[in-house]
């Protein structure tokens, strides 16, 4: 199943005969609910397959790639979409894109001043942005593509309300009494890997720990509510929203 095969030439696919100039998101949603939900969840939040409600899809950097991927599948884990014609593919791709699209919203602050706020607030002590900073917290390069301003504002004011689904802040105590606190990098039934605030990784066997606490809903990121002024906050959000990644 070569992925280089032109979409319209794939066996079993009926060319629509017309150019899909305006993709129909609602039609794509119907197709998605019929064919994709078993693995990707009813609204694309993922399940057996990955979540699709994100701006960047690992296997589909652009719409052409997304349509080709839906058509060709990812053998053996994702079946090919052999029954879709070109319009179906365009509609499906449009719907999938809509799941991760950040609607444009007004950004009242000043990004230039926001860069100063970012610097003086010590954000780079935990985050990498355009290659600079420390890698304890999530990378912020291109964050403006992934998150809207309302989310960014909330993440700065109430960080614990915006944690990713798989984020976990943990506290472990070793048999010798050493306390290790940090972000869970990975975990299986027998072991856990923790990244501490200095960026050091600790790989621990669970049965050798005195205790292991999963601090659900907690985060090492402090709230800046009441610390930054309202205008600083707006400027910082504008700065982050302007981070659209590198072309």
């Amino acid at each position: 199943m070569g992925s280089a095969m032109p979409v319209a030439a794939r066996p079993g696919r009926a060319p629509s005969g017309k150019k899909a100039a305006h993709a129909d998101v609602a039609a794509g949603k119907k197709l998605f609910e019929r064919h994709c939900v078993l693995c990707h969840g009813i609204d694309g939040k993922g399940g057996r397959g990955p979540s699709l409600n994100r701006a960047r899809l690992a296997h589909a950097p652009d719409d052409a790639a997304l349509k080709a991927l839906i058509a060709d599948g990812i053998p053996p884990v994702m079946p090919e979409g052999w029954l879709f014609d070109d319009n179906d593919l365009a509609n499906l791709a449009a719907y999938v894109r809509s799941l991760g699209k950040i609607p444009p919203d007004p950004v009242p602050g000043n990004p230039g001043r926001g860069a100063d706020v970012y610097a003086k607030s010590g954000c780079s002590g935990c985050h990498i942005l355009d290659g600079a900073g420390a890698g304890y917290g999530p990378e912020l390069t291109g964050i403006g593509e992934r998150r809207n301003t309302a989310f960014l504002l909330k993440a700065i004011m109430k960080p614990s309300a915006t944690l990713a689904e798989d984020f976990m802040f943990v506290k472990a105590t070793t048999a010798s009494g050493e306390a290790i606190e940090g972000i869970r990098a990975n975990e299986d039934t027998f072991t856990i890997q923790i990244k501490d605030s200095g960026g050091e990784y600790h790989s621990l066997r669970k049965d050798e720990l005195k205790d292991l606490h999963k601090l659900r809903g907690e985060t090492p990121m402090p709230s800046f509510e009441g610390i930054l002024s309202a205008s600083d906050m707006q400027d910082l959000v504008a700065y982050l929203a302007s981070q659209r990644g590198k072309p």
């Binding site: 199943m1 066996p11 079993g12 609910e33 019929r34 064919h35 939900v37 078993l38 969840g41 009813i42 609204d43 939040k45 993922g46 399940g47 057996r48 053998p75 053996p76 884990v77 079946p79 090919e80 052999w82 029954l83 689904e165 798989d166 976990m168 975990e187 299986d188 039934t189 027998f190 072991t191 049965d207 999963k214 659900r216």
Partner: protein
């Protein structure tokens, strides 16, 4: 006279050659614990090894002896081992491996047609079967193929179903006396399911049992209108066989469309049921339906476990199963009579079972337009991967998925050979779900111990006479537990998600344990 002797000698030799693995060897698997001759090692579905060299005391010394790399991700194979040769299979291929080194002895493959589509499942093979001088492989494009055990050359192939209509085979065939029994996938494509048996020597169909009764047959009235024609009822997990009763036990999958039952009013027999079929004729002896009119995709896709035990002071021939719907059942395997049952995992869809074993369905437990939160999720509290029964402990070991889901109902239109779901689900977040290996009293379903796993598992369970239970995790851990207490005694990180069943065998008299992890087969030993 000399000529006659020559003819006789040649007949004996050819018969010996043809009878490399006669059915008697499989039926008496306990006499040769160093081999693994059928999917579950024995026909009773126990996945129990009488080998006891590896124990909790010495397992710390277990090492990888060899590994074999598959051409495909996410292998679900349960290998067969016969006289120092291991047979494995994958999507439309099979191979023979030297058990000493893992080196390949032969390889066979059949091209997957360009217009083949897997609908609702992955492209996998759960294993081959052996009988006499042949290896049997079920293919994705729905052929049963018999290969020469020694060379991998094809002896015959028979079309079982039409992949253009959504029929496919991922199942490991089951060899019984002179016949090979197979089932089909296609529950998400609106097929009409069946269980088939084929003459092992010729490939000619011996019998077919339709899992959805046609007009005039008992049970047909459990389908509204024409819904029986597209009602599903796939048969995609290997069954069990009682050589004394000569009954084949086989599980039937979900009705189609999965999550929208509006057009298929009624109990939808024999979906979500166990069947007891006469091995010689395929005639139905009894059935037991676990989930009438299912709308959650809760196939009875389980290998039945056949065991004998005293119930109320009387020796009974029993069948035990932990169903995808989160209830454990004990039935009389001669009659199908319900004997005991209780939930073994979190479930919110039924208040319990009545005296006949029928669920007392709870309100608000079906998919809706806006979504309904229900436990377990569509993959069930357990699914195709095998449980294990140890005659030593009397315990039924099952890998449990503790996960709920928001179920949605959607419209669905049937188009042959395409996805026909009628809805879907949104699983709960990873940290709201987990897995367990659970040991149940086989006669009651009462939980004896639990071992918690990081996430809902996809791997089956092997128990051994060394008082160990082996299984795998989705994070790549292959591990052993004490069979009596559930205490972990050993674990190994394989580096890939484990979605297969473990087996055990011997090489030069030394015990080995094998498991597939993603695209690598590991063999462990001292």
């Amino acid at each position: 006279m000399r000529i006659l002797c020559g003819i006789l000698l040649s007949a004996v030799l050819s018969s010996a050659a043809a009878a490399q693995v006669p059915f008697e060897r499989i039926a008496n698997a306990d006499k040769e614990p160093g081999n693994w001759l059928t999917y579950s090692r024995d026909l009773l579905g126990h996945r129990f090894s009488p080998l006891k060299e590896i124990t909790a005391e010495n397992i710390g010394n277990l090492k990888v002896k060899w590994a074999y790399q598959f051409p495909n991700d996410r292998s679900e194979v349960s290998p067969i081992v016969v006289d120092n040769v291991m047979y494995v299979s994958g999507p439309n291929w099979a191979a023979a491996l030297d058990v000493h080194t893992g080196r390949q002895l032969w390889h066979w493959n059949r091209v997957i047609p360009k217009d083949y589509h897997n609908i609702g499942f992955l492209q996998v093979s759960r294993g081959p079967a052996v009988l006499d001088d042949k290896l049997y492989v079920a293919t994705l494009d729905c052929y049963l193929v018999a290969l020469d055990l020694k060379s991998g050359a094809e002896r015959w192939s028979t079309k079982v179903g039409d992949y253009h209509l959504g029929h496919s085979m991922t199942v490991a065939p089951l060899a019984i006396e002179g016949k090979i029994v197979v089932g089909v996938s296609g529950g998400e494509a609106g097929i009409r399911g069946f269980v088939d048996a084929y003459d092992a020597k010729t490939g000619k169909q011996a019998w077919r049992f339709w899992t959805i009764p046609g007009p005039g047959e008992p049970g047909h009235e459990t389908w509204a209108g024409d819904s029986w024609k597209t009602g599903g009822g796939p048969t995609w997990v290997t069954g069990a066989y009682d050589p004394e009763l000569k009954l084949v036990y086989w599980g039937v999958g979900n009705p189609s469309p999965d999550w929208n039952g509006d057009a298929r009013g009624g109990d939808n027999l024999y979906s979500c049921s166990f069947l007891a079929l006469d091995g010689e004729t395929g005639k139905l002896r009894w059935h037991f339906q676990f989930t009438p009119h299912d709308t959650h995709d809760w196939d009875a896709a389980h290998t039945p476990v056949l065991f004998n035990a005293k119930i109320d002071g009387r020796d009974r021939k029993l069948i035990g199963t932990a169903n995808r719907n989160a209830f454990y059942y004990v039935l009389d395997r001669e009659t199908g009579e319900f004997i005991a049952g209780q939930s073994y995992a979190k479930q919110t869809w039924a208040k319990g079972l009545d005296v006949k074993g029928k669920p007392i369905v709870a309100p608000d437990s079906v998919p809706t337009e806006n979504g309904a939160l229900i436990w377990p999720n569509l993959n069930g509290a357990t699914v195709w991967f095998s449980p294990s029964y140890s005659p030593d402990t009397g315990l039924f070991y099952v890998a449990v998925r503790e996960i709920g889901s928001v179920y949605f109902k959607r419209e669905s239109q049937f188009k042959p050979g395409t996805f026909y779901p009628g809805g879907g689900e949104n699983e709960l977040a990873p940290d709201d779900a987990w897995g367990e290996i659970r040991a149940l009293d086989a006669t009651t379903g009462e939980t004896k111990w639990n071992f918690k796993l990081q996430s809902p598992p996809w791997a089956g369970v092997l128990s051994t006479a060394g008082s160990l239970v082996f299984s795998g995790s989705d994070e790549g851990n292959f591990y052993a537990l004490d069979a009596r207490t559930g205490k972990p005694v050993w674990d190994f990180q394989t580096g890939g998600p484990i979605g297969a069943n473990p087996i055990s065998f011997t090489v030069d008299g030394k015990q080995r344990i094998a498991i597939s992890a993603n695209r690598v087969l590991y063999v462990f030993g001292f």
